[in-house]
Symmetry: C2
Subunit: 263 residues, 2 copies
DNA sequence: GGCACCATAACGATGCGTGATGGTTC
DNA sequence: GGAACCATCACGCATCGTTATGGTGC
């Protein structure tokens, strides 16, 4: 029975590839693809080998399209269309996957937006713009792994403090930390409780105070982070100039300072 | 000069693949990949053919990683790292791309969430759940193309009305429309101004009134949409039972009704 | 006979992961 | 000599888009 006959009989229920594809809003190539994957094979083939799709096929294709819309892979879809599939759990998991993706997207978008905002209207050279993006992206990544140590409120407070400081101030803080680390490194052979050690301890506490703003939440996070150096990402560990020796030295120096206070 | 020597001279600035990869937070395989693409070729090769990366390489890799983070393809990155690249415009475009992706993601997430909410705690069979997702996804898609006809406020109003109606009421509305279409189709040979035509016109206006809630914004959108049937997506056109003949008939019938009112 | 549609086959694109195989460093 | 690196293929994945080649329907 050819298409024409079916139509004239008022029983048209077979569609050839292109018409069917248009109805469903997919391409003919996609139909071929689904056919070869065994996802959706047409009800019939004509004598010449033409694919002929029916209404049942349409329902199934609709399901495929919908599952694709929510980001399910064709392989998964194949499993879900089996009779004893557990759709509910998959939906739940997929929602989480999508939420994670959106978080990722948001970070990227924020990084671009912030970089653009920083260079707004001023016509910076490209290398400068690059610096900005790099800084922004690294800040996003920082938020990620540092989040393990800082409570949500602490993170918010840090962000608030940081946004109030001028870029120059931030840069100065960076320089100060770097110089302090160098100085400590150069004094490792001295007595932490001695005068040099006490001066270094004072500078250290001052910088910590500047960073935390005296907030105990932030301080707690910072301490937890410093203690967990072994689990930092490789790049953060490499970027930090604080070696274990330095940590030990400054810890002793600070202890000594406290002890002196008590006396 | 071997690595050891360089280190002992205090001039270490060459890293072999794995160390360099760890520093930058990428895999060795990625380094190979970038090398073969010409994106990042190491400063040197050892006699044995080992890749030796330097600090300049690190800076470049950092740029690559950052651009990847914001979703730029490696091919694009290659172009952006050329000396005369226009980073600014690319950033702007990429931001728009990411925003579009997020919209898409949001639609998928909302579709899942709504479907889950509709089936909450009740243990529905899977086919029922399927129906729900399909409905939700199609609603998301509807919002998309129907947005061309309805103003933002009109869309909000429609959504508000729809969310207040019970699912049963929605289903009834659907059935009513379908029945009306069938009835009109069966009466196409009658006089639109006759009693049968007038009854159909009354039912038509009633359903329109139910949908718009009497809101002129919504009515305007609806009229614009009906008039633009030629540009609907194929599936919407196929789904709608309103053929051109039906449109013409009902238009005449409604006109006649108004005319009678005037007399 | 010509145009629109059909089929199959096969390469392309994206960014590496994952072996396989064999050499290098210490 | 053995562990831990290194190098170069080369296939695999996901989802079709895109020709290329040749048959079919009207």
């Amino acid at each position: 029975m050819r298409l024409e006959e079916a139509v004239s009989m008022g029983t048209k229920e077979l569609y050839r590839a292109k018409e069917f594809a248009n109805l469903a809003g997919v391409t003919v190539r996609a139909l071929h693809h689904y056919d070869r994957l065994g996802l959706l094979r047409p009800m019939q083939r004509s004598e010449a080998g033409y694919r002929l799709y029916g209404l049942r096929d349409f329902a199934r294709l609709e399901q495929i399209v919908v599952l694709k819309f929510i980001g399910i892979s064709l392989k998964q879809i194949g499993r879900l269309l089996e009779p004893d599939a557990k759709l509910h759990g998959v939906l739940q998991k997929q929602r989480e996957v999508l939420l994670a993706k959106r978080l990722q997207l948001d970070k990227a978008i924020r990084a671009i937006s912030n970089a653009q905002r920083s260079t707004q209207s001023r016509k910076e050279p490209d290398w400068k713009l690059f610096q900005l993006i790099i800084r922004e992206v690294e800040m996003q990544k920082n938020l990620e792994w540092k989040g393990k140590y800082f409570s949500t409120e602490a993170q918010a407070k840090v962000a608030a403090r940081r946004s109030q400081l001028s870029p120059q101030a931030l840069e100065k803080a960076n320089r100060d930390w770097a110089k302090l680390h160098r100085d400590i490194e150069a004094s490792l052979n001295e007595d932490p409780a001695g005068p040099k050690g006490q001066e270094l301890a004072a500078r250290w506490e001052k910088l910590i105070e500047d960073f935390t703003g005296g907030d105990p939440d932030i301080l707690r996070g910072l301490t937890a982070m410093m203690a967990d150096r072994a689990n930092w990402p490789a790049d953060a560990r490499a970027a930090s100039r604080a070696t274990p020796e330095i940590e030990v030295f400054i810890q002793k120096a600070v202890e000594a300072a406290k002890y002196k206070l008590v006396c």
